[in-house]
């Protein structure tokens, strides 16, 4: 039986159509842009997703899909795809100076190796702007007028306007930049190189001031037939097979390009002496940190829960309120506040508590480890205190009573009855706490930055680095060049460790069986 449609369901349909048309409009725009950029894989993906979304919402019935689709879409793009993509990057040499196609690399090499041709004629130009992109309107010495921009070779134009000196200075649809605009965007404009023709070997126009441009030629020439670069001294740079042009002396041209390197990143991680060593010690410390964090916070939290699990104790609420403050304090700030407290020369702990001693809390490898654990204890014990209190209070009082009547001492009651019961109910939370601390980036990065750094390591690894901070530093660190490929290989390693640990622990706690 179908209920009669009311006016509200008509409104619902209208809202649905409106939302769908907005999504479709955005999708069509995206498809158009992707078509222009010739990114066919992305084009196919966007098209498929759009069709599926429309199909789900226009088709009657199949209700669950209508409710699940929005969340699943985000999950698919920003979580599942991201994992798969990480896997792909781990098999490439993606990183600083290796982040494009070979064609892009060739163009960039030619452009960056450019220098001004001595005695080249000056081209009078006007800088135009359209849709946020700059173009040069060039009047060549013979009076011909051309338009071009970054990576858009010069093309002859006709319907331009000129100023009193015969310089072309306007074009329909474009905005002419004023002197002030030029000053304000000086850097962007001086970086523009307008190719003279389709062949990058012909050189490009650059302007130092926005009104005159000069011909710049590359000191390198690219020979397409042999796929080599030749510089002015006649040295030959060949495609060395690992994503860069190299000459016989081993000198590389920057940038290179992304290629598939197979298992190279993993091989490098496990066989290169000065990467394998740090990687192993970081992995061990990651486990130690996660386990010790859970153990210390749980021990202290449980202890406090027992101490305060006493009816009629005065001020219990006040204690509880103040003790959960560290948990309510924003996590990223805690690390920074303790950074100040631990400061070796001026910090409160050394200056006041230790009377001016210079204890290297954060710069000695072992003390730094201790400090990180102490701060994490401060952050984490309130949570354990709360859940242990909850768990203790949910244990039926009759059990304690019965045991006491049978003559059991309080310690025995706790050890043999309460603790096992408590463990059953908090075990899943301990496991998720372990998983959280395994990737507890903020506390490590904010407090020690992973340091003190191991100077013998081939990667930027330190004594308190856990795997996730290592990934971040290898990928985005300032110390060494960015190596996305190696960082992703490390991330994949974490995936496997976390997956193994969670499968084992789920088996143990049988959380999955509770689902219905």
């Amino acid at each position: 039986m179908k209920p009669p449609r009311s006016s509200s369901s008509v409104r619902g349909i209208l809202i649905k159509i409106a939302l769908l048309s907005i999504i479709d409009a955005i999708a069509v725009f995206g498809l158009f842009m992707l078509f222009l950029q010739e990114s066919w894989v992305a084009f196919g993906a966007v098209l498929a997703v759009t069709v599926i979304i429309n199909w789900i919402y226009l088709r009657p019935g199949w209700l669950p899909a209508k409710y699940l689709a929005p969340g699943l879409l985000f999950l698919a793009v920003f979580q599942i795809f991201v994992v798969v993509y990480s896997g792909y990057i781990a098999f490439t040499n993606y990183g600083d100076g290796r982040n494009g196609s070979k064609d892009d690399a060739i163009t960039t090499i030619l452009l960056t190796a450019q220098s001004r041709v001595p005695d080249s004629p000056a081209f009078r130009i006007t800088v135009l702007e359209q849709f946020g992109e700059y173009s040069f309107l060039v009047t060549d010495p013979d009076g011909g007028v051309f338009l071009g921009g970054d990576e858009r070779p010069l093309e002859r134009v006709t319907d331009f306007g000129t100023d009193s000196t015969g310089r072309a200075d306007s074009l329909p649809g474009f905005t002419t930049l004023t002197f002030n605009d030029l000053l304000g965007n000086q850097r962007a404009i001086t970086n523009i190189a307008v190719p003279l023709t389709d062949d990058p070997n012909d050189g490009a126009l650059r302007t130092p001031d926005g009104s005159n441009a000069y011909l710049y030629l590359s000191s390198l020439t690219y020979d397409e037939a042999t796929d080599t670069f030749i510089d002015r001294e006649g040295r030959v740079y060949r495609d060395g097979g690992d994503g860069a042009f190299v000459n016989d002396a081993g000198r590389e041209l920057i940038p290179g390009w992304t290629i598939n390197v197979g298992f190279d990143n993993f091989v490098k991680a496990f066989t290169t002496e000065n990467i394998r060593g740090p990687l192993i010690s970081v992995t061990i410390w990651t486990f130690a940190f996660a386990i010790l964090s859970v153990a210390t916070t749980f021990a202290l939290g449980l202890f406090l829960a027992i101490v305060f699990n006493k009816p009629n104790m005065r001020g219990k609420k006040a204690y509880r309120l103040i003790m959960i403050l560290p948990y309510a304090f924003p996590g990223f700030l805690s690390g920074l506040v303790w950074l100040g407290l631990f400061n070796q020369d001026f910090g409160f702990i050394n200056q006041v508590l230790f009377g001016g001693a210079a204890i290297p809390w954060l710069t000695d490898p072992w003390l730094a480890k201790f400090s990180v654990l102490l701060v994490n204890l401060w952050l984490g014990f309130p949570y354990m205190f709360l859940i242990c209190t909850g768990a203790l209070q949910s244990i039926p009082e009759e059990l304690t009573e019965a045991a006491t009547v049978d003559g059991a001492q309080p310690w025995a009651v706790f050890r043999l009855i309460k603790f096992p019961l408590l463990l059953v109910s908090v075990a899943p939370l301990l496991i998720s706490s372990f998983a959280f601390n395994f990737n507890n980036f903020n506390i490590i990065y904010m407090l020690t930055g992973g340091g003190p750094r191991d100077v013998t390591a081939g990667v930027d690894a330190g004594a308190t680095d856990i795997l996730i901070t290592l990934v971040y530093k290898v990928a985005f660190g300032e110390g060494t060049g960015r190596d996305y490929g190696l960082a992703s290989a490390f991330a994949i390693l974490i995936f496997f460790i976390v997956a193994t640990v969670s499968i084992i622990s789920f088996r143990q706690t049988k959380v999955l069986e509770e689902l219905n």
Partner: protein, 305 residues
């Protein structure tokens, strides 16, 4: 008084005559030591917070000058905080609130939709879907930070509005984590709302959308608030993804901005940083304490029964 609450040894309200004479010793052995531990823990828990509050009120500016607590009280740091040209604190604060609120609202909405489907509908893949949600939360998004960076760079070439450097892009990334542990919390709560309510409404002719938006969402409001708050706290503290997506100081969040501010010259900027930290912590802590009952209930739901 409930009998169960008084079974602890020695805690029975007694009228033994000797009680007054041995009062203190008895109290010390029974309850006093608990207060002693309590005081030690209070110092441990509250000291860093008091310290940062005191530093924020200290006009000397440096770390070493902050070591005497509450010697002077001066609000100059709070004023200077908003006058730094390189560190636009006001912008960071607003950015953090906007990103946090939008991401939290989105997370609640997407999560509630999914929880409704899992709780009220029976379909193939439902069980697998629920299991997947638990497993997915084992893989935090920050592991894929490299891929997220490259993905957003790629998206930015088609839609510059959501590419690298935009807050909208960052929010979308955060929404990728919307389904997960949150949905699971909500799913449990949705199950406690009787199905007979839906059925009654259906008989009255209400559509599924109407039932969901006008009836169910109201009944599950407490869990929506908890999930919203948890997601707000998580988002505002998030550093890794925010630090690589938001490149321009004007668009950064407090986590990214304050980290860069204090990590460069810890000692010199200390008291201004402290003022910034206090201001940043106040809204989050106030919300947390205000809603602590629900949060603690939410955190322990599902395992502590």
């Amino acid at each position: 008084m409930v009998a169960g609450a008084t079974t602890q040894r020695g805690e029975r309200p007694t009228t033994i005559p000797e009680r007054r004479r041995r009062g203190f010793l008895f109290w010390a052995r029974d309850t006093g030591w608990r207060h002693l531990i309590g005081l030690v823990m209070l110092a441990f828990a509250a000291f860093p917070l008091l310290y940062v509050l005191s530093a924020s009120l200290n006009p000397t500016g440096t770390l070493v000058g902050s070591n005497t607590l509450f010697r002077t009280i001066d609000f100059g740091n709070y004023v200077r905080l908003f006058q730094l040209p390189q560190q636009p604190y006001a912008a960071w604060f607003i950015n953090t609130m906007v990103i946090g609120l939008v991401a939290a609202a989105g997370t609640v909405f997407l999560g509630a939709l999914a929880a409704y489907a899992f709780s009220r509908m029976r379909f193939t893949g439902r069980r697998v879907g629920l299991l997947t949600l638990i497993l997915v939360q084992m893989f935090p998004q920050l592991l894929g930070v490299v891929a997220i960076f490259l993905l957003l760079s790629g998206i930015g070439e088609v839609f510059p509005q959501i590419g690298i450097g935009t807050q909208a892009g960052l929010i979308l990334v955060y929404l990728g984590g919307a389904l997960g542990v949150n949905t699971y919390l909500m799913y449990g709560f949705f199950n406690t709302v009787p199905v007979s309510i839906d059925e009654a409404a259906k008989i009255d002719g209400a559509s599924h959308a109407r039932i969901f938006f006008t009836i169910i969402l109201r009944l599950v409001a407490p869990i929506l608030a908890v999930v919203g708050l948890l997601s707000f706290i998580a988002t505002t503290s998030e550093f890794v993804i925010a630090s690589i997506v938001l490149t321009n100081p004007q668009s950064q969040t407090l986590a990214v901005g304050l980290y860069q501010f204090v990590s460069q010259e810890t000692s010199r900027n200390w008291t201004i940083f402290s003022a910034g930290a206090v201001l940043a912590a106040i809204p989050v802590m106030a919300l947390f304490l205000y809603l602590q009952k629900y949060i603690i209930g939410g955190l322990t739901a599902g395992s502590v029964k």
